[in-house]
Symmetry: D2
Subunit: 287 residues, 4 copies
């Protein structure tokens, strides 16, 4: 992958039809686009076509400001849902966290080391514990404690903070509050949660306890987009680790932490690189 | 592992108490037992102690006929549940199968190549399809078609056949009938089923369809002992495979077959080598 | 994946150039080709472009006999290396085996159950042991014992047998003889070997012994195309399994068998479905 | 696992002999030791016996100061190599690092979150880059630049610093200098290195480049004790990740980082919990 050259990414989906691939590649070819990544998927059952194509802006015959305009007729002809992204835009990420800090630490460390093409200007928590970590990484920290009474108001406040910081993506890094529908609706397919089980097994609370009680031989973690239905959103990434009868609940928690960190980081990275497309309640991951 | 020498295996469990390990090792030491494998597990929460110990009969001061008798006082002192096994006993396995033959083929192939320390004298099916395979491997084939009306009677008949063939272990190799409680009760922790999902996810029918619909990124298979509650018995072994949006339901079925074969074979092998102990609804696997 | 409809597959590679994707998709679009799978890869460093595209013959404007002819101008314009395949052709596979039969059994069982789109008309061995297995599956068995003196002559004989049976693909299912250069040259990228290690670790003889001696915590298996250099050919597929100090060499052999079977079967299946392209000493696997 | 109660751990190895297990368990039983973990391994080929046993100090009849003395006769009778550890001792770890900081960050984050039973009082680097990270975590940072000329002197200096800080374990967190024999000899089986390949494949420099060039389908990472022979020491832990032709060298590096972090952290944790025993050039990991 060429990371240094400026590129454009087109993500699109529509009803499957003949001539789709030809139309898109023709559009790029006619304007001297040098494709560096192209991948598509056809869901035969649903008759849905999805595509990701990335090309270099250098040498492309259309100025970046004009690309959307120029592509629109193609999109309209096929009834496409589409979005256009440029590799020099740096998405802005807010991290929501509660008491457990391992995912927060991991995300900040990766960000600091340049792993993510993103900024992290805001950390938001229902507890005050991690103010110092935020400060250490030079990130604004907002403490928004939540009770049943204050929840709606605090989510309003959170939305205002997100807007203020012009946030593109919200990452729930073991944030233990269920977000309200209104909140979720404002960031469709832009809120990423890590659930500490191999969904759909052990949805809801205390999955490691449930896994231990059931005596499973493998545990997992799942990163998914948040929807109104708890732990039911489109899955972006999952991974698993082998366990045995020797592992206590505490051991599962310990081993699970490593899964959670890696699975969440992979999902965030895939999202930030515009490699995830949602359709129905599923994702297509163009990796 | 020394496979050639004649060995004895003691499997035991009891309430956790001081002096357990000392008592067992002392018993073997005093009679010149050469331990070649010993493993134990203490479930701290349940205060349960479980142990597997294997030693060579050659040089052991007690004749094999007398070992159980000699050990009984130790077992009674600590209130142990225990069983004694000898490596020259060849367990007798019956395989139950329906339409899908991949697990059956795999088990027979392994048996023929000497992978299992077992005999397979009997294949039982609710369909007649695999009579030829059975014949090819020289195994008796019994066709017991099942309807809602005949089910109870046919299970009676099956039990009679198992008894006749002195079967120790029943392996459900993608057998698509739910066994009745009376049947299950006759072979407690001796009926091994392969379920084609990562339990507890997708219990019940059509797990690959459900997995595809949910859009999971990993599929699995689970081998477990059969209990009265469907797909709820103690898990012996699980494994998983990565899938993607590119995989249709048929692809999941295809990839899943390899998981099912390997997971079932491993579970059967562990059981046959007396390496599995059940307590509560869980297993301890002394591998 | 639509398995039932008749399809054509185009596999091609060439120097990376602008307009490649457009030219191919345009060719198919102009003739009403309904693409059901398309994947491409650009190796940026080597500036190599590789593509696999599969489309339905039903409704395609060019009769199958004329497709190659019609595509030739496109291919020549870009200097493509290419091949065209039809889904109703059944490739013919010969299996070479020595003493260990687990891969042979596995391949035959899969074939019998319809997993492979292939025929297996010939088994060839330097030992006579598996004549009965071949007979059981109704496959011709040729015993060609090999000594240093007879090797060249026997390979000539083997080549004649392959020709006679119109073999497309040779599968070395734990065949313990090193094939001569002349033999290999006759089936470039059409001889698939399973090596019982995670190559390039433990190339050559007795990999499980070496792995045990080195004390690795994971073992592997590798399926690769055979080239003149031993265990150095393009890797098609690999997989691994976790082991521990508890595993003797015999345990590694036992666990490794399951890896070998699955990895070899996957590689053979990928090859038979025209999903593997070789360039340099590497493969692109369009899965 | 009971983490809160004070425990003692005995690690021992010796020539395999009858009565070993009985002698150790008897020693503990006679003094009212409540065993909470016991595991042993017999290498049949080498006739070596290795054991780890952990018991609670509360209620044990011998005061902690007297345990070693009391056990000595047992150890001498069997010619044991042994060590005794107490769970309230906090080992002191020094981290060596060069330019790449992901493992350093990961170790510090885990330490800060209380994952390791250890202190990290010292970071040592041949570059000055990570002084600020060290400061952020409140850890002493020593910059010891190394050239061919200064290497011996700087290693002397490093040894002095380790002594000063009473370091028990040295962790090479992507430290890109080869340590001299004299240095290594001072911390036998107490220097843990992370190598960014699946050893023994791709030992030495630039393993990701070599892996990419070879076209492997799986990459790995290996944590091992450092010995005089480069990348040849006893392996503690390994793990792998699947890659494909789509992955550039940079992608391998990116995916590999996650492996390196997790594998190194696991190895360090196992060592700190006294769960690793070295014999010959291998480890027994009592997990």
């Amino acid at each position: 992958m060429t990371r240094n050259n400026l590129t454009a990414v087109l993500l699109l989906s529509c009803r499957d039809q003949k001539g789709l691939v030809a139309a898109v590649s023709d559009f790029l070819y006619r304007h001297d686009g040098n494709i560096i990544h192209a991948d598509q998927h056809t869901d035969q059952e649903e008759a849905v076509f999805l595509q990701r194509v990335e090309w270099e802006l250098e040498g492309f015959a259309i100025a970046r400001e004009g690309i959307a305009e120029a592509f629109r007729p193609v999109a309209e002809r096929f009834g496409m849902t589409w979005s256009l992204h440029f590799s020099d835009y740096t998405p802005r990420v807010a991290v929501f966290v509660s008491k457990l800090a391992h995912c927060l630490y991991d995300l900040l460390g990766r960000w600091r080391m340049g792993e993510f093409r993103a900024d992290i200007p805001l950390i938001l928590s229902n507890h005050a514990d991690h103010r110092a970590i935020a400060a250490g990484f030079g990130v604004e920290f907002q403490h928004l404690p939540v009770t049943a009474q204050t929840k709606a108001a605090q989510e309003e406040r959170a939305l205002a903070l997100l807007e203020e910081s012009r946030i593109d993506v919200v990452v729930l890094a073991r944030y233990m509050q269920v977000l309200g529908e209104a909140f979720v609706a404002r960031y469709p397919n832009r809120i990423i949660n890590i659930h500490h089980s191999f969904l759909p097994a052990f949805a809801g609370a205390r999955p490691y306890h449930k896994a231990h009680e059931r005596g499973v031989k493998i545990i997992g973690a799942t990163a998914h987009y948040v929807t109104a239905a708890l732990d039911q959103g489109p899955i972006i990434e999952q991974d698993v680790a082998r366990v045995s009868h020797r592992d206590s609940v505490e051991d599962l928690v310990r081993k699970g932490r490593d899964l959670e960190k890696v699975v969440l980081a992979r999902a965030v990275d895939l999202h930030l690189r515009n490699r995830v497309l949602v359709y129905g309640n599923k994702t297509v991951v163009f990796d």
